[in-house]
Amino acid sequence: MSSFLAFLPELILLAGALGLFVVALGDGRVRLARTVSLLTATGMLLAALFTFGQQMVMFDGAYRVDGFSQFLKIVIGFGYVCVVLLSGELRDIRGEAKPEYYLFIALSLIGLTLLVSSIDVITLVVSLELSSFALYLLVPMRRERAGQRAQMESAIKYLMFGVAATGVMLFGFSYLYGLTGSTSLPVILAKLPPLLASSNSSLAIVGLALALAGLLYKLAVFPFHFWTPDVYEGAANETSGLIASLPKVGAVAVLVRLVSLATPEHAAFATLLTCLAVASMVYGNLIALVQTDFKRLLGFSGIAHAGYALIGFVALDDAGYAAALYYISGYMLMVLACFVVICHVSPDGANVSVADLAGLHRRSPLLAVTLLVGVFALAGIPPFVGFMAKLSLLTAALDKGHLALVVVAVINSAIAIYYYLRIVRTAFFGESEGIPARIQLAWPVAALCLLLIAGITALGVVPATVVDTISRSLAAIKFPPLG
């Protein structure tokens, strides 16, 4: 009975997905599909909250429910609720595909939920692929515009890069398997550190580094970032919002599991992560400076933020991992806040350029404030979560003596201010030509805006509970025997 309880969030998601599958068989059942999705999302969030504190190993040691996984399931559940509220009208999704759209969101979410609990390489890869393939299918569902098939190009790009990254990842896992003779992470955790510490550690380091590739691709870390701006731009606004937010939480979660295989003494590994972090931050921020399309801009800023998140991993200790998780949970909210605005500023679901935001404070004050909070949070200005999370990242890295990295990071946040301010400037100080139409928000969207504003502010002002929970949950990934 208790194993059933511990698996409750996943079961609810599965039931919801099955329900959506049935709904999608008929015609014109968009409203029904949306309702089922919202119920599933809420149910999953509640179940995750309810099962918090459960501890269990299932499926012959391949799957583990613990504080770490359940905390992430709460975050993912919250994100799912937000994404469903965000995908209200789906203005740019082909009419007949709308119910399926909700189905694939649910499937992708199942993949992510399984991912954060997987402690076997095989389950891990399968869940990662489940979450990815659903997303691959969401991208080309966008309505076709005359003379261009950008959504197809994006879908192919996303798929090709994704498959290649998974291939590299599997290759890396094969090394780890060869070295340790097991696909189970607890076994690898026990056997790998001595190998990493030995004089002949290059194979272990290479294997581990390659294994990270698939996750770095999800997180859009340089040099696995090439798909990001094009997919953001080519996919429908709602789809980009989903791709930009939830998978990154899953990716960071698994990165924490994998990177914790190394310990602070592994200088080579820290150097590798430092290089990736610096390259991501500098590249993302510099290219973002010149973007005119809002989604592309968020794409490049996402690359930079992936770099910030990696700062936590460079420390190679629990404080750093906790900071990275805190950061990415906050990032999910901030980027969703930006996408709420994108989805509702665009009258027909077309892409939104930064210039289109002009006069937003007149068209919809609530959206403008949501954008303000989201963008200032991304820029790392207190009292929002972006600041507190960045503070904990920098503290963790500086604690381990990575001064140069920290200085590069703060210089980067100073550079980033410029393009974030450009967005605020257009939305608040710019005036659109003619008399702009007011944007009417349905109540779920208004509720979502308030929810995100409250979340971003609360995580920044009173983060103690969340930070504590994360720190305590990290003890679980060291795989102490379950009593």
Partner: protein, 498 residues
């Protein structure tokens, strides 16, 4: 620190305005919004007066202390407290806020509610900066302040408001990122984010130099010191009256306050090593600001450059590192808040009536508005440090303190003082008596009741501090003496440096 205060005065002062925002958001009528904001700021002002009789001037210890764990995992606490210096700055803030609301009464015609929300949020962050005793808490308020201020300039400002707002934001932000790194580095050296515990913690000379450099960049931009001052004229000119007043009266003080609260007690060795250079930069600022002001025809720009010059006196006094210098500098900070705040209100009033800030176009308006001319003249005299007005005492103490350090230095600053007399008297002469038959003037109304209420406290303080500064000096004295005790024992080490 003294034991915790039984009533959380500071928290109420800080978050009172936020509570005011919650109510304000529900009000629909613009009149009601203005009155409510005035009520909230006046209530906060009256509450802050309650601090005065409860403040013990005999001790340097932080008083009205409040402490609570904020983020235990990162060892960040919610710690508040005041000493003599910060008490004066908090009182200055709570005094200026109702006046700012009055100054925006008719000036702000669009989006009144949003403007008032921005004003109240500013008050929260400003009081927060002056009363925070945890470095991260300080930084949170310090940075959060940028958002309402930038919006205030960018939405309600003049023609080049967007440029000015962005320049202000990026400039300040670029400075504060280094402050953040310094704060984290300090935490890793000392093991705490607590400000009182960080003060006096033994740190190596090399480490102090780096931390001081970060402090200096961040605070010097805020003051602003030459050559980091270029954002100031732009921001002042474009900001609405209340924005200019807050910028001049409170925000610039955050920079000098930062030097007093962070640079001197935490990095005393570096402060002594680099102090002479900072003093020379201050003299350059005094001269540069004075002569630049002399060349302006835009009234707001003139007052803005005069701010650069006055704040030069403040930094000069701080880095003289003796009692006269620092007490003088603190007094200059208060006086500049009162006088320059008053001047910006006067200029805003001219703009409301004439829709210009050009000295030539506004010439001779004093004839039609005698009460106005009195206030204007008084602030001008105070700005040039005329004996009997508040600024005289402050600048006199700073110069006396500076003389103990270097006579040459003070001699070099003298032309700046002469320039101050020149630009202020030129402005006063033009406005009060010049071009009496300027045909372009519509019939001008003298100050109405609201405007008199707005100027009355400032006029009172100009005379009060000018003739009887002792109460103010007594509040800060113990804290300044203690500050010097923290900063000065290292003198022998500095002298030993090659």
């Amino acid at each position: 620190m003294t034991p915790e205060s039984p009533f959380p005065f500071l928290s109420v002062l800080i978050f009172g305005p936020v509570a005011g925002v919650a109510v304000l958001a529900l009000l629909r009528d613009e009149r009601a919004q203005r009155w409510w904001t005035l009520f909230v700021t006046a209530a906060v002002g009256l509450l802050s007066l309650l601090l005065l009789p409860r403040f013990n001037t005999d001790t340097h210890a932080f008083q009205f202390v409040e402490q609570a764990a904020w983020i235990p995992t990162l060892k960040i606490n919610y710690t508040l407290g005041l000493d003599g210096i910060s008490l004066l700055l908090v009182l200055l803030t709570t005094l200026m806020m109702p006046l700012c609301v009055l100054a925006s009464w008719n000036y702000i015609k669009t989006r009144v509610k949003e403007f008032m929300i921005a004003l109240l949020l500013m008050e929260t962050t400003m009081i927060g900066v002056f009363s925070a005793l945890d470095t991260i808490l300080f930084f949170v308020f310090w940075e959060a302040m940028l958002i309402p201020m930038a919006l205030m300039i960018g939405v309600w400002g003049g023609p080049r408001r967007v440029y000015a707002s962005l320049k202000f934001f990026i400039y300040t932000m670029a400075g504060s990122v280094f402050l953040l790194v310094a704060l984290i580095a300090l935490r890793l050296q000392t093991g705490t984010f607590s400000l009182p515990d960080t003060m006096g913690h033994p740190l190596s000379a090399g480490f102090q130099s780096w931390v001081f450099a970060a402090f200096f960049i961040s605070f010097a931009i805020k003051v602003p010191m030459f050559p980091f001052h270029t954002w100031l004229p732009a921001a002042h000119v474009e900001a609405p009256t209340a924005g200019s007043v807050l910028l001049a009266s409170i925000l610039l003080k955050m920079g000098t306050y930062g030097f007093l609260r962070f640079a001197l007690p935490i990095t005393p060795l570096a402060a002594h090593t680099f102090g002479p250079y900072v003093m020379w930069i201050s003299v350059v600022a005094i001269l540069y600001g004075g002569f630049a002001a002399l060349a302006q025809t835009d009234l707001k720009k003139l007052v803005a450059y005069s701010s650069v010059s006055h704040m030069g006196f403040a930094t000069l006094g701080i880095f003289a590192l003796n009692t006269g210098g620092i007490e003088g500098a603190t007094l200059v900070m208060i006086n500049h808040g009162i006088t320059t705040g008053g001047l910006f209100m006067v200029v805003g009033l001219i703009y409301e009536r004439l829709h210009t800030r050009d000295i030539g176009a506004a010439a001779g308006i004093g004839k039609q508005m005698p009460i106005f001319a009195f206030c204007y003249g008084l602030f001008c005299l105070s700005s040039l440090a005329f004996p009997g007005t508040n600024s005289f005492i402050g600048e006199f103490l700073v110069l006396a303190g500076g003389l103990k350090v270097s006579k040459l230095l003070i001699l070099c600053a003298v032309p700046g003082i002469v320039a101050a007399a020149a630009y202020n008297l030129r402005m006063l002469q033009k406005l009060a008596w010049g071009g009496t038959d300027n045909p372009k003037h519509p019939p001008l109304a003298d100050l109405n009741f609201r405007e008199m209420v707005m100027f009355a406290p400032l006029v009172a303080f100009v005379f009060w501090i000018g003739l009887h500064p002792q109460p103010v000096m007594r509040i800060m004295h113990a804290s300044v003496v203690h500050l010097l005790q923290q900063a000065n024992p290292v003198i022998t080490q500095v002298a030993a440096l090659p």
